[in-house]
């Protein structure tokens, strides 16, 4: 029943549009034809090595949403212990076993944003980033993250915001 999914998604879209979220600068279906595929843009948190970066996320909504979770991955390259550098896959419990319909696409994106500043190096998808954290090299970790943020997430026009 795609109908009930569409109804829910339209409500979520309206909810986002009524109350714009500065940390999630975009959240919408990529086309009018297919409401099951969304694009979102996350803004990196200030005072973290992600500051100043903007990352695109691709969201695939299953037909059984919201009983089952959406599939979310990073399109923009990001360096983080729990995100695959290569595929953008995210390791976050609420996107898998801990999902519940009480989450929305917006709150799920915000949970991903929270993950950025709260990495979980014991279950890494990016071993290099995780290893730096696990051996306590925060300086090396932060500079690595900053480098990739500058390399991949700051090539848009919004550089001026951060500095």
């Amino acid at each position: 029943m795609v109908d009930s999914v569409a109804r829910r998604l339209l409500k979520e879209l309206k909810d986002y549009q009524n109350e714009p979220n500065p940390d999630l600068t975009e959240l919408s279906p990529i086309s009018d034809e297919n409401i099951l595929i969304w694009n979102a843009v996350l803004r990196g948190e200030t005072d973290t090595p992600y500051e100043g970066g903007h990352w695109s996320l691709r969201i695939e909504v299953p037909k059984t949403y919201p009983i089952h979770p959406p599939k979310i991955k990073f399109l923009t390259k990001i360096c983080h212990p729990n995100i695959s550098f290569k595929t953008g896959e995210i390791c976050l419990d609420i996107l898998k076993t801990a999902w519940s319909p009480a989450w929305t696409l917006q709150s799920a994106c915000m949970a991903i944003r929270l993950l950025l500043s709260n990495p979980e190096p014991t279950s890494p998808l990016n071993c290099d980033a995780a290893n730096l954290l696990r051996c306590g090299d925060f300086m090396g970790y932060e500079s690595l993250v900053k480098m990739y943020t500058q390399l991949h997430a700051m090539n848009q026009q919004d550089n001026e915001e951060s500095s």
């Binding site: 409500k11 009983i67 076993t97 519940s100 090396g140 932060e142 500079s143």
Partner: protein, 379 residues
């Protein structure tokens, strides 16, 4: 299966040179004289260079500031800068350099082995879960009712403690209806038994009272901080089913068909879950003391109550029966031979709230460790 391994290997090729060497350095900073194989000389030289630039008290912050400056100049240089404190033998970010393992300090290798073990453990766990799920999916979400003798036959080869208890149970109960053991069985059994009881009651007062308590749950959900956005579609599904019973459009086989349909059945289950969560949150002072490890109620609910397939605990039963004003009796049947009989626990809502629901007979559920089914009492 190999996915994880491949990934990590590829990751290593991506930006690894810098990291590996960063590791070496960090360990150096932490432990003054580690037993690093090979390159110790070069690395030490580097850390001494760093030490000269950095006042002793806050090495990290300053070092970072140092790095930031470099980053702002040119990114390519930056990449060098990150790797600069390492050996010169490796070109930074070049994925075509030789096997990474060769440059690994020993304990990094150990850590990676430990990590691999963990990945394997995780994979095994996921495999186990998927097998259990497959096994469970052979049972319909809710089954046809069976004679209680079927339950007895299940234990014919097994413990006579169970057989004796079932004999006792059979004195007052004649049928059992199984539910799928997918972690939702309490909610599904409760939902089906409740709707069936309403259907069979054929009593408009009872039905009205049930509808009223269902409508009231929306207020409960709002007061516990749930956005209507997340529950109202799901609520509509539940209400529609109850109204169809009121309109006389349902019979028992239709009810069974509805509860065997994934979508509707799961919507009902989840709505019962969110009611339970909302009730526990509203009366958190009362129930928080029962949670292990001083968990906070909101966190507990979002982890164990709202999430599908998470089994229900004692307090969930209390919360749901009170929130919906539905009396439930649960027969606890364990393999313990301390008790000859099956123990019945009564979950009756508060007296003052009972009002119009007095005539609703309690739902009867059978609990065996880890699982709920529905029982039918002899008339």
């Amino acid at each position: 299966m190999g996915g994880g391994d491949d990934n990590s290997r590829e990751e290593i090729h991506d930006g690894s040179m810098t990291n590996q060497e960063e590791n070496t350095n960090a360990q150096q900073n932490l432990e003054p004289s580690p037993n690093l194989p090979e390159k110790t000389a070069i690395a030490e030289e580097d850390s001494s260079k760093e030490a000269k630039q950095i006042p002793e008290e806050k090495p990290n912050e300053n070092a970072e500031g140092n790095n930031v400056e470099q980053e702002q100049s040119v990114i390519a240089d930056n990449a060098q800068a990150v790797g600069a404190s390492a050996t010169e033998t490796i070109s930074v970010g070049n994925s075509s350099t030789g096997p990474v393992e060769a440059h690994k300090p020993e304990d990094t290798a150990n850590r990676d082995a430990a990590h691999e073990d963990q990945v394997k453990f995780q994979q095994n766990l996921e495999y186990e879960i998927s097998i259990k799920k497959e096994e469970a999916e052979r049972t319909p979400l809710v089954c046809l009712s069976e004679d209680i003798q079927k339950l007895y036959q299940e234990y014919e080869q097994g413990s006579d403690v169970y057989r004796n208890k079932i004999m006792k149970l059979a004195e007052r109960h004649n049928k059992i209806r199984r539910c799928r053991g997918d972690g939702n069985c309490f909610y599904r059994a409760f939902g089906f038994a409740w709707f069936e009881r309403l259907l069979l009651s054929n009593n408009s007062t009872i039905l009205r009272a049930a509808l009223d308590s269902l409508v009231a749950t929306k207020t409960l959900l709002n007061s516990s901080g749930y956005q209507p956005l997340v529950y109202d579609d799901i609520y509509d599904v539940v209400e529609e089913q109850m109204k169809a019973i009121e309109r006389g459009e349902r019979d028992d086989s239709m009810l069974l068909a509805i509860f065997q349909t994934d979508e509707i059945s799961n919507h009902i289950v989840w709505y019962l879950r969110v009611i339970t969560a909302a009730y526990l949150k509203k009366y958190r002072q009362e129930y928080e003391p029962f949670l292990e490890f001083e968990t906070e109620m909101d966190q507990y609910c979002s982890k164990y109550v709202e999430v599908m397939d998470q089994e229900a605990d004692h307090i969930h039963v209390i919360a749901l029966t009170k929130a919906l004003n539905v009396p439930v009796e649960i027969a606890y049947m364990s393999g313990s031979d301390a008790m000859e009989q099956v123990n019945f626990h009564e979950f009756y809502p508060d007296n003052e709230a009972t009002g119009g629901n007095l005539t609703l007979k309690p739902l009867v559920l059978l609990y065996r460790p880890g699982h709920y089914d529905i029982l039918y009492r002899k008339e």
